[in-house]
């Protein structure tokens, strides 16, 4: 397939299938199978894209044949291609899990089309080569997420939606201001073009101001300190499948955008932006994990861990060395799988116990041994215990911090790792190990069982984690190559701008 087809297919497939999904009869099975098929195709296209980029270098295509910087550019380097592949895998996992857990009436509605719009928006954000288009794709993704969050329309979900939506809209306003101001300063929004023209700018102070606008906007989307308040206020309310989708993809787009913008575009004052990112990353790690330690609601606890892990990513970006960026990419991959596995398992435990409250759970180790194993492995992996994927990813970040002689970040990363282990062990002790609470109703009104196919996606995620842990070498190699492309944008610029300088 030509690069043009490969680059546009993930977006076309998702949005096309979303439209088709709304048109076909409103029954559960056709919509479910359409969604599954679409996600399989997106995964295949993502894998092909990654292979192509690995073999032939950065791929770019100008939509409608208008040359950059005037047309709309789609571009994939190794990081983008890897993220599209993971997006496909996560989409597939979540659709399979939704099919096993959601009631048929929900499946027959707008649920799957919305999931596909969200995945399409995420793929668009990863593939676009233009800042205004990045804004548009982020809005597409957020629009779908607002509806998914409020779809069941229970009171707590409505409240969560209002908080999440208003804070997200404020973030979008900041992002749009940033985009507009940057156009006013530079006269272009094509990332490759900006990377070429900005170093010669006569007003570097103005650029630094604009870069802070971008930092604030993307940090809000990523859920970084002190702009993360929307996340723990909303992520615990929708069904587990939706929470998994959000935690796997939404905040990652913010991190990806930060990585893209601060390696490719705003390199004029690395001292200031790196310091800001490091401080922000360190505080995000600490506040996230402290928030988690205080929680006794399983999903809210896991939501706070999203924040704390985002801190690792932002701190790695702040170090801005090749080793740190390699660690960032490896950590991103590991963490999407680990966090998703934990959220999927939390949904499964809630099906057995009918609660997310850790006080009310207990004894799951005896009644659901497989589920216990499926929680234990990702929990250890998230905390960074060998031989699972988290160990190598976390080790790489700490090594990069030590090599940059940034003792504060290295120490924080180790300490937060221990606290993560502590709060994971709290879930283990409360939900799986201890005897069930005394005052539980003796006979449940309906037999509590997991149901078919619930564990499949959890097993797949856990398997990824073991594979990425035991065979970490290929992932680290790929991450290293991707980090090389981020630090040396020449290939990216050449692919987008063609022969012209």
């Amino acid at each position: 397939m030509t690069p043009g087809v490969l680059l546009s297919l993930p977006i076309i497939l998702c949005l096309g299938a979303a439209a088709a999904g709304q048109l076909i009869p409103s029954r559960a099975w056709p919509r479910r199978w359409l969604a599954l098929l679409t996600m399989v195709l997106v995964t295949v296209v993502g894998a092909l894209l990654l292979v192509t980029v690995r073999r032939d270098g950065v791929q770019a295509v100008q939509m409608g044949g208008w040359a950059a910087p005037f047309g709309i550019t789609l571009v994939a380097d190794l990081l983008s291609a890897l993220m599209v592949l993971i997006t496909g895998v996560m989409g597939l996992t979540v659709v399979a899990y939704s099919a096993a857990t959601l009631p048929a009436s929900r499946e027959a509605g707008a649920y799957y089309p919305l999931v596909m719009v969200l995945v399409g928006g995420v793929c668009g954000a990863f593939l676009t080569g233009d800042l205004f288009n990045l804004f548009v794709w982020i809005e597409v993704m957020l629009g779908a997420s607002f509806v998914l969050l409020a779809l069941e329309a229970r009171q707590e979900q409505l409240e969560a939606s209002i908080k999440y939506m208003s804070l997200s809209l404020i973030g979008s306003v900041v992002l749009l201001c940033a985009v507009g101001l940057l156009y006013g300063v530079a006269g272009t929004l094509n990332l490759a073009d900006l990377s070429v023209t900005l170093p010669g700018s006569t007003t570097p102070q103005l650029l630094t101001t604009v870069s802070i606008f971008f930092l604030v906007a993307f940090a809000l989307k990523a859920g970084a300190f002190p702009l993360y308040f929307w996340l723990p206020a909303s992520y615990h309310t929708p069904p587990a499948a939706v929470t998994t989708l959000f935690s796997a993809l939404l905040t990652k787009v913010g991190v990806y955008a930060l990585a893209r913008v601060f390696t490719l575009v705003f390199t004029q004052d690395p001292q200031l932006t790196s310091t800001l990112l490091l401080v922000m990353g360190g505080l995000t790690m600490v506040t996230g994990v402290l928030g988690a330690v205080a929680q006794y609601d399983m999903r809210r606890l896991l939501s706070f861990h999203i924040i704390s892990q985002i801190g690792y990513l932002i701190a790695a970006l702040g170090l801005l060395t090749r080793g740190a960026l390699t660690a960032l990419i490896a950590f991103l991959v590991h963490y999407i799988f680990a966090k998703s596995a934990l959220f999927l398992v939390s949904g499964a435990t809630a099906r057995v116990t009918r609660t997310y409250d850790l006080h009310q759970m207990g004894n799951l180790y005896r009644t659901q041994p497989l589920l216990a194993a499926l929680f234990f492995i990702p929990a250890l992996s998230l905390a960074g215990v060998p031989p699972f994927s988290g160990f190598f990813a976390k080790l790489a970040i700490i090594q990069a911090a030590l090599r940059a002689e940034n003792w504060a970040i290295a120490g924080t990363a180790v300490g937060v790792g221990l606290l993560t282990l502590f709060s994971m062990m709290k879930i283990w002790r409360e939900a799986f190990w201890k005897a069930p609470p005394e005052n539980q109703p003796e006979e449940p009104s309906r037999p509590l069982s997991l149901g078919d196919g619930v564990l499949g996606p959890c097993i797949a995620m856990t398997a990824f984690m073991i594979i990425l842990g035991v065979g970490a070498e290929p992932l680290l190699e790929l991450a290293d190559a991707a980090a090389g492309q981020l630090l040396d944008p020449e290939e990216y610029v050449r692919a987008v701008m063609g022969g012209r300088p």
Binding site: F132, V136, E139, L142, G143, F146, V147, A150, A153, Q155, E156, L158, E159, S161, I162, K163, M165, S166, L169, I170, V173, L176, C177, V179, G180, L181, Y183, G184, A233
Partner: protein
Amino acid sequence: MQLFLALTVGGLFAAGLYCLMLHSIVRLALGLVLLGSATNLLLFTVNGLQRGFAPLVPEGQDALTGPFADPVPQAFILTAIVINFGLLALLLVLVHRTAQETGTDDTRALRTELKDSKQ
């Protein structure tokens, strides 16, 4: 003209932020409307105000010369207005639905999570 628009943008941002701080979800929605408009006007203002110079290439030449009104920011604004409109429609539905469910539009009443944790 630039000064006047700059002051208007500042005023709109201030009014929008003020609305966000009131304890009412209807005013919250209005505040977000104001912030959206302020942003659009900001985009319009910072990208150069030009009157009477359409971005048309004169006959016999192959590039624009002299001052012209850049159409790209206007395309941005148009896109932003459409996105904003869609999201605000959704937000209004949410506000309406929440008011129906809870019987109030006071944000201080929307704190189920705090009430839950105290139980």
